[in-house]
């Protein structure tokens, strides 16, 4: 480290790194806002679907409920684990994978487990641990409702065919910019929250409640998956933004420290040169 030339080169390289991390930070910030907007835009539909589900379930007799609303003993569980395609987003994927493994270990005590992974990161880290049914790694950065259709089809068909008796989703819930909480949610069989204010019971259903409900359930499943996917996207970009801000700050600190060392070195060199000259001049003066 004593070589000033080496130090200068090092400073320049850290400055380049800082430029990249700062650019990534800005890009992530704008993508995070976009992802949050998409999540906000999706909320009205999700709320209406939930409300309508509750109304239809109340109007349909218990024995007429579609299979996706009926619970059965769990011998085989499917897990949908949502991770990102790209890295450099802090501990986001590690946390989701850890949560998923905890849940899966628990399920394994009493049932077989199959895995459906979204995102390259999760595929890499979970591939060795659990038999994988499918992996979706081509979901775009701006997911649309259509992106979710193949995943929804897969879990619904599997559930209806009896391949598995429940479907769990593990995803990073976007709490705020600094916090993304790994969360588990049971997708199938559908269990609805209590209706806070039950709507008027005197409703005409065309053709009848059970038929409409049967048609609505797939939309509900897709909606829940789409919402978790939007949470994943918002979480990814905020985690990346925070990670890149930390990297930028670290780079700045490093540049300061290296600059200090470099200046000290430079000054020491100048001082020693002055001493050289001064002592040389002194020696000459004494001889004269």
């Amino acid at each position: 480290m004593a070589n000033p030339l080496e130090l200068r080169r090092r400073i320049r390289s850290v400055e380049n790194t800082r430029q990249i991390t700062r650019a990534m930070q800005l890009v992530a910030a704008s993508r995070m806002r976009r992802a949050q907007d998409a999540a906000d835009a999706a909320r009205p539909y999700a709320q209406e679907v939930l409300g309508l589900m509750q109304q239809l379930v109340a109007a349909t007799g218990d024995d007429l409920l579609p299979p996706m609303l009926q619970t059965r003993p769990v011998e085989h569980s499917a897990y949908v684990v949502m991770t990102t395609n790209r890295g450099l987003c802090g501990a986001l994927n590690t946390n989701v994978v850890r949560q998923a493994m905890e849940d899966i270990e628990e399920s394994r005590a009493s049932a077989e487990v199959s895995l459906i992974v979204i995102g390259r990161r999760g595929r890499t880290s979970l591939a060795r641990l659990v038999p994988m049914l499918a992996a979706f790694t081509d979901i775009s950065d701006r997911p649309t409702a259509a992106d979710i259709t193949p995943i929804a089809r897969l879990v619904m068909d599997g559930y209806l065919a009896g391949d598995f008796d429940e479907v769990q989703v593990v995803y990073p819930e976007f709490v705020n910019t600094l916090t993304q909480r790994p969360t588990s949610l049971r997708l199938l069989p559908v269990v609805l929250p209590e209706d806070a204010d039950p709507r008027d019971a005197d409703v005409i259903f065309e053709p009848d409640p059970a038929t409409v409900l049967e048609a609505l359930v797939p939309r509900f499943i897709e909606t829940v998956l789409y919402e978790t996917l939007l949470e994943l996207t918002a979480s990814e970009h905020s985690a990346r933004m925070v990670a890149m801000r930390a990297a930028t700050d670290n780079a700045s600190e490093l540049i300061d420290a290296l600059g200090l060392t470099y200046n000290k070195l430079r000054q020491a060199k100048i001082t020693s040169e002055i001493i050289d000259i001064a002592s040389g001049a002194n020696a000459l003066a004494q001889r004269a």
Binding site: D200, E206, R219
Partner: protein, 140 residues
């Protein structure tokens, strides 16, 4: 007499929210469905088609790609699988989609499987819903 409130939501966004509407005509699963203020509470499925509504003297049009409709106390809520206002429709793209779907149907007739036929038929219905909505709104 107060008018209807009409809300149209699709999975990705809220397409429309408007008050004081005199009448809504929606593509019900068993045919067109007219709704006026003080309609009885109703829940029904929708098929792909055009939803039109009248407000003041104006009549406006929306594409509905299937979904559900709910009437509750003078509030009409449409949960569409997809929906566009007539001015948002990309007519050229819909025409291309129609041609593509027709071609696929033709091919599938000669030894295609059921899934392809169903998919092509659905695509055709969606394209037609868009084209007809645009036509009714006086575009295309």
């Amino acid at each position: 007499m107060a008018g209807l409130t009409l809300t149209v939501v699709s999975p990705e966004r809220e397409v429309l929210r408007e008050d004081d509407i005199d009448m809504v005509v929606a593509p019900g699963i068993d045919g067109e469905l007219g709704l006026m203020p003080r309609h009885a509470p109703l829940v029904t499925q929708l098929q792909a088609g055009t939803l039109r509504y009248r407000s003041g003297g104006d009549e406006r049009y929306l594409t509905i790609l299937g979904g559900f409709l709910q009437v509750m106390q003078d509030t009409v809520t449409v949960l569409a699988d997809g929906s566009e206002r007539s001015d948002e429709i990309d007519v050229e793209r819909a025409e291309r989609a129609r041609a593509e779907a027709l071609r696929e149907l033709e091919e599938a007739r000669v030894g295609g499987d059921d899934a392809t036929v169903i998919r092509a038929r659905l695509a055709l219905l969606r394209a037609l819903a868009r084209i007809r909505t645009a036509q009714r709104a006086g575009r295309g």
